[in-house]
């Protein structure tokens, strides 16, 4: 993951796919996912308002579909 002015670039060496995080806030959300109990909590703590949550849910779903992020296997 490489931070950029517009957000960040992500590259997955397994799938060899490049993805883009198109906002700095989304970058904050993604980097805090591991430490937060839920994706929603990560969004809320990053200052995402209720109106924006669906867009972030969609963005995270896209990242999950391309294996850039994945669910926790155990906790």
């Amino acid at each position: 993951m490489r931070p950029e002015r517009f957000g960040a670039l992500l590259y997955h060496f397994g799938t060899r796919r490049l993805s883009f995080l198109k906002s700095p806030a989304l970058l904050t959300v993604v980097t805090s996912l591991g430490a937060e109990p839920t994706a929603r909590a990560a969004c809320v703590n990053a200052g995402i308002g209720p109106a924006e949550l669906p867009a972030y849910r969609q963005a995270l779903a896209t990242l999950a579909a391309s294996q850039m992020i994945c669910g926790r296997t155990a906790s």
Binding site: R2, E4, R5, F6, G7, L9, Y11, F13, G14, R16, L18, S19, F20, L21, K22, S23, A25, L26, E52, A55, Y56, Q58, A59, T62, L63
Partner: protein, 430 residues
């Protein structure tokens, strides 16, 4: 994943802190002499970066967080330190995708490659049949590539790339290429023929006709979902819809080229002094060239659409490929020579072809490679690479360029090998 409205393409126009990926031609030495070679490769340049210098570049790429490098040449695997450099890069979190004609891809090498997540391989193939391929890449090159593909497939390397430059003689073979890729569990990658390097000499006869361009575009729209293009056909977006990818010229903005002697060019198809930004041997290394060279800074300014600005297709094709225009003698702010509206053809008709800029370096074999495309394993002994002294002019790298000389005589007689043969003191420095 769209969260903000600003299109990424606009962000990319202004350049990134580091390239997304970059092409690195490790050597000009090659066992083949493909007629369209974009780097005019053949002979090793004596000023080639050393192993230690290459490792320093990799260290920089790691610091800059460049995800991967596209290594090419020449034939990169003829460098004795090739595998050492690949291992060094992957150990330093720089992924490697390398292009090869298949020369060194033995069953053992294929197994090693298959075991790494950080390495990807591209086998170059320009015909789905030996007849079409070998006419461009040389006798025996089809068999060489097929052998490598078989070895990779048998080693379990899923998804390696078969990389095809589209020409007048292979557009009709698109389905056959796709079938070939499927047969080997590989992924097809097709790219555009550029009039760069030796390609300048054959572009007129080899570039797809207008009808074939349409055929190619339609094929990509209909069947190209799993086909890679290196975003190289964005000039075809003028047909009405953008193809997957960035659909923009990334030269000096998101991509660039490092050549074997460390020169940094705006893109792999622009090996010419006009697109030379600096050299990795300079004090600031590659990072300084990327971040603050005059050329790259210029390229990141808003570009004028010039003659194309009033065209309804301009938003889609953005005037096409800079290198294709440059080496066909067209102005950079005019139409692409293969403009889908036909403006390029009109413009070309008005251009004196003899006046088109010539590629800066020429490392072509002085005669056909002695061993042709024979595979390793079929014979023992060294790879047939001829080593000459630094050419007296033209492609001697930084020094020659600094002196402002861009063309001249390459010694072709044994008695002309004195290192100072043909040397003329530069009239002006800088």
């Amino acid at each position: 994943m769209t969260v903000t409205a600003a299109p990424l393409v606009e962000e990319f126009q202004y350049g990134l802190d580091a390239p997304i990926c970059l092409t690195w031609e490790l050597t000009y030495a090659c066992n083949l002499s493909c007629v369209h070679c974009l780097s005019s490769s053949g002979r090793r340049d004596p000023a080639e970066l050393s192993t230690a210098e290459c490792k320093r570049v990799i260290d920089e790429l790691e610091r800059m967080q460049v995800f991967y490098v596209n290594i090419g040449g020449g034939e990169p695997t003829v460098r004795p330190d090739f595998w050492e450099l690949v291992d060094y890069a992957t150990a330093h979190h720089v992924g490697v995708k390398f292009s090869t004609n298949g020369l060194r891809i033995t069953p053992e090498v294929a197994r090693e490659l298959a075991a790494s997540d950080y390495i990807d391989v591209q086998i170059s193939l320009d015909g789905a049949t030996a007849e079409v391929n070998d006419a461009v890449r040389g006798p025996g090159s089809f068999a060489l590539a097929l052998r490598a593909m078989r070895n990779l497939a048998e080693a379990g390397f899923a998804g390696f790339k078969i990389s095809v430059v589209m020409t007048r003689h292979n557009v009709s073979q698109l389905d056959a290429f796709k079938a070939l890729a499927d047969e080997f569990g590989a992924q097809l990658r097709i790219t555009r023929l550029r009039p760069s390097g030796r390609g300048a000499d054959v572009w007129d006869e080899l570039h797809p006709t207008a009808g074939q361009q349409r055929e190619l575009y339609d094929w990509l729209v209909a069947r190209g979902e799993k086909v890679l293009t290196g975003d190289s056909f964005f000039h075809l977006a003028g047909y009405g819809g953008g193809l997957p990818g960035l659909n923009m010229c990334g030269a000096g903005r998101v991509v660039c080229l490092i050549d074997p002697v460390g020169d940094v060019y705006a893109c792999p198809f622009a090996i010419h002094d006009a697109f030379l930004a600096g050299n990795v041997r300079g004090a600031g290394g590659f990072a300084e060239v990327w971040r603050s060279s005059e050329l790259f800074t210029d390229l990141r300014q808003p570009q004028s659409g010039g003659a194309c600005a009033s065209c309804s297709a301009f938003d889609a094709c953005q005037g096409g490929c800079m290198a294709a225009k440059f080496f066909t003698g067209l102005p950079l702010d005019g139409p692409d020579p293969e403009c889908v509206r036909g403006f390029g053809e009109h413009a070309l008709a008005a251009v004196d072809a003899a006046g088109a800029p010539r590629p800066s370096g020429d490392h072509s074999h002085r005669r056909a490679p002695a061993a042709g495309a024979r595979a390793v394993g079929q014979r023992r002994g060294p790879v047939p690479v001829s080593i000459g002294s630094r050419p007296a002019d033209g492609d001697g790298g930084v020094l020659a360029r600094k002196a402002g000389r861009s063309s001249g005589i390459i010694p072709d007689h044994a008695c002309d090998q004195n290192p100072l043969a043909g040397f003329r003191p530069p009239a002006t420095a800088g």
